[in-house]
Amino acid sequence: RQGKLRLQKWYTSQTDKSKKKITREIIAAVLSRKPKMSSFLEWKDLKVVYKRYASLYFCCAIEQDDNELLTLETIHRYVELLDKYFGSVCELDIIFNFEKAYFIFDEFILGGEVQETSKKSVLKAVNDQDVIQEEELEEKRSVLEDLGLA
């Protein structure tokens, strides 16, 4: 199952076809890297910054004047957020709750820029969403109960 894409986020408009092509190329390039190599690889006029966590690779394509080291830590902060939210995150959490992974992402990074670096603030925003979700589920259950369907 090597080379499967779990989450993707694009900040420039691309056709589906070119998205697939780019994804394929980057996956191949990253997987061919050896352990002692730098975490940066040049790809067209962009740089791909990547980091591996167990079986998952996290990759960001950044522009030439973006800060490579900070991008590595941006990845790490996102992983920390996932870890905190799911409680010791694993790949399966991301597969089964992919929409949550996206929601967390949007609270952390927006339009390709970091908007909130405080772990507490991001997690609070996501937890607030979960509270609403619970409330809405409750509502649904009570409606069903009213109808005798529960």
């Binding site: 900040y11 002692k36 080291l69 590595l72 992919f98 909130e116 979700q133």
Partner: protein, 927 residues
């Protein structure tokens, strides 16, 4: 099955499990198709699907899409979810739209309407969903639709912080995708800038990104942000990490905000205000100091965050390029990183050092690390790191180390990765030409290059070798000799055959007296390669054979036999056949005189921009910032070009934004309101000082000719005999277009009959921060004394600007060096004994009397500086020929320093009356 948070959609979880349990790709596909059919039926048949079910199915579609399958339905259902009043349904709707939909969807208006509704909601979490969607997929239509709503959210006092953050980045997206549609009211500028001061670090972090983009578009309007950015930065770097609670990342206070602020400041020149400037310098100093402190944690996150800030600070230091102490400290810090065990740091240090090498303050400091960088080239295991090392060697190369560096690069080339060989070949070719003191060395390097990396030698490279040889008479016989030797190798790259074939055809006669390379030996050697070559190369060799017929009549019959041979005369290749037929006929019908005329040696090539630099730029469009490769070495005043051979042309100037703010009289009138509609005239006239500064061109062929706040004019000249090829670069330093741009270079009075000026027209507009180029030639018809004039006029901000200055073409531009031995020199000296042929002057020294400086100046002046002629080694003698279209004027000189008296005596003799006087006039205040 792992637990799902909130246990929201069981059906989805079951589906995902199913997919994961599929044993094969086919099984997975079957399961997916089954699900798609199911969803399609649900959507089609059951109009009464409730929001929850729609959400579930839309989510399944999203999952299928993420597995890599195309989704071509369900859009309408997703958009319907947007108008749900349930947050979770809305959220999935927005997610689907953000991930799957691209800009060309018919439901755009519907989506926009839904977003508008949510933006007007009282519930901030609904507003945020809408903002996040726009930040993800915003386009022109959204920019138009929300041009008022979103900025208002950003600056309103009632907005909560989280919404402000989203609104800032939402605007950034719209600004990026369609800057023209997003009209930000200028009344908002100050309030947007003040977000940098926001108490909430998250708001400031989001806002800097937006401000950075706005600044790039309109630096003047937002220049107030410099002050705020510096003070915010200063507050962060001088605080303890404990002050920022959750915004401290592994003991580093607010690294994201710091880096963004440091980047924002790179949009501006160093601050004018001394107090802000010193505060900024303190910040940078502090960041450099912190890099020397012991690490507070062993975790890589700590060192990465700390170094991320450090590298960005170094970028800013390089950008400002004015504090030499900071630059040198930065260089030392990077030098330490070169030895670090983290590959990432070595990679980044090499990359940043490339930029430092371009600064005159730190170029020398970078050179100290030469050995480490060469070592990196040999020992790094990661090709991208080695690539950075090559880039850095290229950037740090100058006259002093060119020989060593080129040698190292050649050595590395033999084992280099295939992916970077072509680029390395280009770089070696450029450096060895640019810094060649001795063109024999250049040729040795180039032939070695072709030998070890022939496959990677592009056409431009070997064309260039030939151009250099054709244009430099002094190396032609050497070129023929080594080309001949190179051909003797048993396995010879086809590119080598091309170069050697061409050179022998032109200059084979220069080595024909050597018994080892007689005409027939040359011919046999070349012909032994003929059948191994491609048709294109064979064509080239056939031309060489034809030239041999002219150079070596004694082997004419051999050559005619070859031309007659079926494999050529009846070749299936049309071009070969045609050449063989025509050349054969030519050799039969022409008498030697006609032949000699037809096959006269090639005239020198006109100098244009080196094709190699063009090629290098094509190869690496972005990795090397403009102006870095071309200006790696600060131009020392004594390294003028000789003008008698091809040199790589360089863009003679790079626009330097840093000096833009230094106001002088010219800029003061810029505040005049445009609506007044009157032209204000401003003329820069030549003064005695501009005439004096024009004299610097006596010793150099390229430099800045004129510069003020609006424009920078660079000139570059290359002389071939009596013609100088001129390139002028007009750089617009402003943020406005210059219009009605016109230039005129002309000769007055007597000069009109002495110089023929022929300049190409120049473009009538120059875009902001862009450069326009003008080329042309000036022919020297007779010796002359005065300088041509240059008038330039253009409109800037509706005001007429005029610049008048002398155009620095002196008679010495047409001097060609003449080398001769002592006997010859004195013989000629004595022959020019008429009083009108000689001029002598004794004058005081204006500069310290340093032997080497004098020698360099005389050399740069254009004539030779001959060693061992004068019995007194302190004296200088030399000779040159001034080429005019009508005659060649020989001139000889002797310069005698008298260090005790601090005086010089200069004696010049020239074959034409009056010329000696003119030359003395030019030189008597230059030593």
């Amino acid at each position: 099955m792992p637990t799902m948070r909130g246990d929201a959609m069981r059906g989805l979880a079951v589906f995902i499990s199913d997919i994961r349990n599929c044993k094969s790709r086919e099984a997975e596909l079957r399961r997916i198709n089954k699900e798609l059919t199911n969803i399609r039926q649900r959507f089609r048949a059951d109009k009464t699907l409730d929001g929850y079910q729609k959400k579930k199915y839309v989510c399944k579609l999203l999952f299928i899409f993420l597995l890599g399958h195309d989704i071509d339905f369900g859009y309408m259902e997703a958009v319907n979810l947007l108008s749900s009043n349930k947050y979770t349904e809305k959220q999935i709707g927005y997610l689907f739209i953000s991930v799957i939909m691209n800009s060309s969807t018919e439901m755009k208006q519907l989506i926009i309407q839904n977003i508008r509704n949510d933006l007007q909601s009282r519930n901030p979490i609904f507003i945020n969903l809408a903002l996040q969607c726009v930040a993800n997929i915003g386009d022109r239509e959204m920019a138009v639709a929300f041009t008022n709503d979103i900025p208002r959210l950003l600056i309103s006092g009632d907005t909560i912080d989280a919404v402000k953050q989203s609104a800032a980045l939402c605007l950034l997206r719209l600004h990026r995708t369609s800057p023209d549609s997003l009209q930000l009211n200028t009344e908002w500028t100050a309030r947007i800038i003040h977000l940098l001061n926001d108490q909430h670090l998250g708001v400031a972090t989001a806002a800097v990104s937006l401000i950075d983009a706005l600044v790039k578009r309109n630096p003047d309007e937002y220049k107030g942000c410099v002050n705020l950015a510096v003070s915010r930065l200063s507050r962060i770097v001088t605080s303890s990490y404990t002050d920022f609670q959750d915004y401290t990342y592994y003991f580093v206070p607010a690294p994201w905000l710091c880096v963004k602020l440091l980047r924002l400041l790179q949009n501006y020149p160093p601050p004018d205000d001394p107090s802000i400037r010193s505060r900024l310098n303190e910040c940078l100093d502090t960041i450099l100091n912190k890099a020397q402190e012991p690490l507070k944690s062993k975790k890589v996150q700590h060192s990465n965050a700390r170094n991320a800030v450090l590298f960005e600070a170094i970028n800013l230091i390089i950008h400002m390029d004015c504090e030499s102490s900071l630059l040198v400290r930065a260089c030392n810090q990077l030098g330490q990183f070169l030895q670090n065990r983290e590959t990432n740091l070595r990679y980044l240090a090499l990359e940043s050092m490339c930029l430092l090498a371009a600064s005159e303050f730190s170029h020398e400091a970078v050179k100290k690390h030469q050995d480490t960088v060469i070592n990196a080239l040999k020992s790094e295991r990661d090709v991208s790191v080695r690539q950075r090392a090559v880039d850095l060697l290229y950037a740090m190369c100058d006259r002093s180390n060119a020989q060593d560096l080129v040698q190292e690069m050649l050595t590395y080339l033999e084992t280099a990765d295939y992916t970077i060989r072509e680029e390395m070949v280009l770089k070696i070719a450029i450096l060895s030409e640019k810094y060649a003191v001795d063109y024999k060395w250049y040729l040795d390097v180039m032939l070695k290059l072709i030998r070890i990396a022939g496959d990677f030698v592009s056409e431009e490279v070997w064309y260039r070798v030939i151009q250099v040889v054709v244009n430099r008479t002094d190396v032609q016989s050497y070129a023929a000799k080594i080309a001949f030797e190179a051909l003797q190798a048993p396995a010879c790259h086809e590119n080598m055959v091309k170069v050697a074939g061409y050179i022998l055809g032109e200059y084979g006669n220069l080595i024909a007296l050597d018994p080892r390379s007689t005409p027939i030996i040359q011919f046999d050697l070349l012909h032994s390669k003929y059948h191994l070559c491609s048709p294109t190369t064979r064509c080239l060799i056939l031309s060489t054979y034809m030239k041999f017929v002219n150079l070596f009549p004694e082997i004419k019959h051999h050559i005619q036999d070859i031309l007659r041979h079926d494999s050529n005369h009846r070749s299936s290749d049309v071009e070969i056949q045609q050449r063989a037929t025509e050349y054969l006929k030519l050799s039969e019908v022409c008498n030697p005189t006609v032949l000699a005329t037809i096959l006269e040696i090639m005239p020198p090539y006109p100098e244009k921009q080196s094709p190699l630099l063009v090629r290098l730029k094509q190869k690496k469009p972005l990795t090397e910032p403009e102006g870095v490769t071309e200006s790696q070495s600060p131009p020392p005043p004594t390294t003028g070009h000789n003008g008698d051979g091809p040199k790589l042309t360089e863009t003679a100037l790079h626009l330097n934004q840093q000096h833009q703010q230094q106001q002088n009289g010219l800029l003061l009138s810029l505040d005049t309101p445009e609506s007044n509609g009157y032209y204000e005239e401003s003329t820069s006239k030549p003064s005695s000082s501009t005439l004096q500064s024009a004299k610097k061109f006596l010793f150099k062929n390229s430099d800045i000719l004129f510069e003020n706040d609006l424009i920078q004019i660079g000139i570059k000249g290359e002389t071939i005999k009596s013609t100088i090829h001129i390139e002028l670069y007009y750089g617009n330093k402003t943020t406005l277009q210059l219009t009605n741009f016109s230039t005129n270079i002309f000769a007055l009075g007597e000069l009109e009959s002495e110089l023929r000026i022929n300049m190409e027209p120049v473009k009538s507009t120059i875009d902001p921060r862009a450069q326009s180029k003008q080329t042309g030639t000036i022919d020297c018809l007779a010796d002359f004394r005065d300088l041509p004039m240059m008038n330039i006029s253009f409109l800037y901000n509706n005001m007429l600007q005029k610049i008048d200055c002398p155009f620095p073409i002196y008679i010495n531009k047409f001097i060609e060096k003449a080398e001769m031995d002592s006997n010859n020199f004195f013989l000629r000296w004595r022959n020019l004994e008429k009083p009108s042929q000689e001029c002598q002057k004794i004058f005081p020294a204006k500069f310290p009397m340093i032997h080497e400086d004098c020698r360099q100046k005389l050399d740069d002046f254009g004539w030779s500086c001959l060693m061992g002629i004068d019995v007194n080694a302190e004296n200088f003698c030399g000779a040159g020929i001034i080429h005019t279209t009508s005659q060649a004027i020989g001139c000889l000189y002797r310069l005698e320093p008298n260090k005790q008296a601090n005086m010089y005596r200069l004696t010049i003799r020239a074959s034409k009356d009056g010329v000696a006087n003119r030359l003395v006039e030019l030189l008597d205040d230059q030593f």
